[in-house]
Amino acid sequence: MNESIGDFRELGGGGARVSLVFYPGDFPVRWSQCSATADFFAEYFAAVHACRTADEGARNDFVGTISYIVNELVENAVKFSVGETVEVTVGIEDEELVTIVANHVLAATVGPLLDKFRELVSGDPQEMLFARVEANAENPEDGASGLGFLTMMADYGAKLGWRFAAVHDNPNNVLLKTMARLQVRNQ
């Protein structure tokens, strides 16, 4: 299978990027390590030429935004990953900061995930965010399902996309890549 939803686009070859790959083995990625990962990328890219700014407020905003988005994407990967590697890549392309998180999910979950992702890009993010929160308050068992993606789109202006690809040596798993793109302010 090879299916894309939303604004998914791979980073072009040769573009500047930083990747971090977790091979969890005997020590699964802990929840608190999502935060450390997010803070690393935020601080790293705040010092990259295309993102750097002398304005302290703008730098603060950049670090908070990247940290929020990478943290949400890595939390999702840790929550749904089925024990294989988790790869986090952040790069800059066409004046956008692109974050791609890749992890394995169970092939059996692909159908529901496809439906959920298609729904997330089907309407106005702000309206969907408000509806989702009201629904969560009515049905506490639903958890915060999808709220991270909706806040990224509605509150941070991120464009999101997903790609599912077959894993050749393991038909039980599918490789899921989740992408968030943000406009980088041109200084």
């Binding site: 999502c34 935060s35 905003d61 908070g64 943290n71 709220l147 991270g148 806040t151």
Partner: protein, 116 residues
Amino acid sequence: MSATDIKGPGYRVWYDEAASTVHFEGSLRLGTAEYEPIAALLESVRTRPAKAITLRMTDLVFLNSSGINTLYKFVIGVRKSGALEVHVDASATIPWQSKSLPNLRKFLPSITITMN
């Protein structure tokens, strides 16, 4: 009876009854289930006789989407019970607050937010 002082690695959420203020401090990036004690604290505050409460956010650097959901859910509960005035002290220099806290007005139109 829920706890009124919740501490964990890098965060603290506590209720100052005399000042009718819930203080949020540090960085909150917990899993959904880990927010339950905080939701219980907020719920216990909601059902106290106080007429007004303040949520002090100015020392909360990060809040993930599960935490944002907890906060939104609390103010929806206040809207439905209609008995409490809620004020939020927020900081415009903390990005998540300037981006996500204004949504509170959608869920609780009577809420007041100070964004310094």
